[in-house]
Symmetry: C2
Subunit: 426 residues, 2 copies
Amino acid sequence: MNESIFILKGNLIYSKSAKELEVCENSYLVCEDGVVRGIYKTLPFEYGGYPVEDYGDRLIIPGLVDLHVHAPQYSFRGLGMDMELLEWLETNTFPEESKFCDMEYARKAYGIFVENLKKSATTRACIFATIHRQATLLLMDMLEEAGLDTMVGKVNMDRNSPDYLREASAEESAAETVEWIKDVLHKKYKHTKPILTPRFTPSCTDELMEKLKMIQMRYSLPLQSHLSENPGEISWVKELCPWSEFYGDAYDKFGLFGADCPTVMAHCVYSDDREIARMKENGVFVAHCPESNMNIASGVAPVRKFLDEGVHVGMGSDVAGGSTESIFTAMAHAIQASKLRWRLQDESLKPLTVEEAFFMATKGGGEFFGKVGSFEPGYELDAVVLDDTRLKHPQDLDVKKRLERMIYFSDDREICAKYVAGVQIL
Amino acid sequence: MNESIFILKGNLIYSKSAKELEVCENSYLVCEDGVVRGIYKTLPFEYGGYPVEDYGDRLIIPGLVDLHVHAPQYSFRGLGMDMELLEWLETNTFPEESKFCDMEYARKAYGIFVENLKKSATTRACIFATIHRQATLLLMDMLEEAGLDTMVGKVNMDRNSPDYLREASAEESAAETVEWIKDVLHKKYKHTKPILTPRFTPSCTDELMEKLKMIQMRYSLPLQSHLSENPGEISWVKELCPWSEFYGDAYDKFGLFGADCPTVMAHCVYSDDREIARMKENGVFVAHCPESNMNIASGVAPVRKFLDEGVHVGMGSDVAGGSTESIFTAMAHAIQASKLRWRLQDESLKPLTVEEAFFMATKGGGEFFGKVGSFEPGYELDAVVLDDTRLKHPQDLDVKKRLERMIYFSDDREICAKYVAGVQIL
C-alpha cells in the first residue's frame, strides 16, 4: 500500500482550456503524493484498497486562484468607493497600510484576512503585504499555518507617498527586502513563498528598480506589480519615465517584466497592442480584477484580446479595490464587465463565457504556481468541495448549471471541504 | 396605554433625500399603528411605559423595496446568462414560465422564492407572476402568509410568444385578468395587491392594451411593465407600433403610462429625453435593474439623469435577469454600473453615490407603495435589523461605514429582524 494515495469521489469539474470545461459526474479522482493521477468513472482494480472520500452528489472543482490581493486592505473592503485610483490610494489605502508598523494591529487585521481566505474557495494567492518587514513575516506565518499556498510580498515604495508610508531611500528599501528574504528563507515555509513587490512605477525610483533586479537575480524570485490600471496613473508613469515606450516597458527596461522570472501584473485595463505583445513575448501573467476596475472606475480590461493572443490571464480579487475575496464573485464580475465593455466600448470583443471565467480562475491563474488549477494528470491536487443543497431549486439541474449558480450566488456556506496540494485544510 | 405603540432602539439610518442620509446612533424609534411617530435620542417621558425592543449596537434601516422581480424566474437565476434579451426570453424564460400551469410545480417553485424573499432585507416588492391565474393566486397566498407587502401581477401575453405561453386572444387574456382580479378581491388580502402586468409591448396586441385600460379604470389598478431595455426590443416596438413617438408612447397612447394610475417601468436603459420628459410628466416610476442590464448585456440606464430630472426611481432585482433577490447587491451593482457608464459612455453623468443607491432602494422605490421607505414621521414602519458582527474588522467603523459594508458584502446571515408596516415577520 502506498500511504500517499487517496481518492475523492463526486461530480468533478475542471477546465482543459478556456473553451473546454470537463464534467465527470459521479467519478473518482486518484491523488498520489499530492498530485492528480487520474479520473475514473469506475475505480481501477489497483486502487481498490485505498481510502475513498465519497462526497456523493456534491461538486468538486479545482481550488480557485487569486492572482492579486492586498492583505492589509481587507479591513476597509467595501468602503470609500467614490474615488479614482490615485486619490483612493492617498485617502483610504496609505493611511490604513501605515498601521501595519504596529504588530498588534497587524496580528488582528491579518488574522481576519487569513481566517476568511481559508474559509473561501481560494487555495492559491499572490498577496501584497505592506512595506513593513515584520508584519509581512507575521502574515506569512499565518498563511503557512492556515495551509494555503501563497506568494507574499513585502511592498517596496521609496517615492510619491506620504512620509508615514515611504521607505527613506532605495538603499533602505532594498536592504529591508534582503533582510526580509533572509528571514523568509530561515523560516523554511513549505507553501509560503516570497515574491518581489514594487508597488507600481510611481512608488519606486529607478534606483530602487535596479536594486530589485539585482535582488531578483540573486534569489530567483517572481515579481508582482500593477500595470495600466487608470488613465491618470498611465500619464504619470509617462512623466516619470519619459524614456519608456509604454507603461510595461518602464518595468521591462529594468528586466522586471517577466523576461527572467515569473511576473504577474494586475489590471492591464489600458494595455495597448505593444504592451500586450511584450506581455506575450515575456510570458507576463495578467491578474484581471474586474470588481476593482468597476469600483474605482478604472474601466474594463480587454480580456478577450488577452485570451485570443495567448497571454496568460487569471483572476484577482484585488481587495480592497474589490470588496470581496470571493473568486466566484470575481468570475461573475468578469463576465458582467465584459458585457458592458462589449455594449458600451467595443463590439468587436465578445463577452466572456462561464467556461472562460472558470478557466481564468483555475488553470489560467494556476499556471503561475506551476501545474495547478486543473484535475488533469500531473496537476497538484487543489480541490474545493461544494455542497449546494442550501440553494434550492424546483427543477432538475445538470452539473454544469450547478457550477454556474456557484459563480453567481454561492458563498462560504457552500464550501464543505478544501484540499491544497493534496492536503485537506478544511 | 395605547396597545399599538412599540419602540425600537438601535443605530437608525434612513434617507431624507437622494443626497441626505440621516444617521441616528443609539436612538429610539416610536411606532404607533404601524406608522413611525418619531425618532428620539432620549425617549420622551410619555413613552416610558411602552415596550422597547433594544437592538443594541445593531443597524436598523428601512425595509428594502424591489420594484421589479419575476417570481417564476427565480428557479433559473444565475443560469444561461450568455444571451441578449429576446433570445434569452425564448430560450430560458418562456419554457420555464410555461411550467406554472402545473400547480404542483408552482407550489414548489414559488415556495422557494417566497421563503428566500422573506429571509432577505426586502419588505416590499412589485412582482411578475406568469399568465396563469391559479398559480398567480397561489403565489399571492404565499406572500400574504409570509407577511411581505407586495403587488403581484398575472402576466398578459397574446402575441409573439410560443403557443405554450400565449393567451389565445385579447378577449381571453382580458377575461382571465378580470377573473383573477375578482378572485383576489374575494381573498381580502391585507398586504398583497393586484397590479396590471402587460409583459411588454411585443407581447400584447393593441386590442389587449385597450382592454387592459378598461380593466384598469374599472378596478383602479396600478400597472407594471418593461421599457427601453435593449436596442433590438426597441426597434421591434417601433415596427409593431409605427404610430408611437417612442417606446413609452406605445403605452401612453393606451393610457397605460402613469397618467391615471401608479405605473412602474423596468429598465429604461435607452430612454431618451422625450421619454424621460413623459415619465416625469406622468409620474412613472423607473425600476433600475443594473445586474440584469449587465447580465443580458443591455447596457446601463442613465440613472443620474432620472435623479436630476426628478423622475421617480427605485431599485429592481429583476430576477432572473438578475441572479439574486438581494437589493443590497443591486445597490452595489447600481454604483458599479454607473461608474463604467461614466468611464465608457458618458463622462457628463457622474457615478452614483452610496447615499443615492440607498435612497433608491428605500424611499425612492418605497414611494410607489405610499409613505414607505423612510423613518420620517408618518411613514409606515418597514424596518430591517442588521447584525454585522460576523463581518469582523480590526479598526473602528462609524455607522455610515458599517452600512456601506452591508451594501457590498452582507448576506441573509446579517438580517436578524424584519418589520413590515409595523408587524414583525422575522
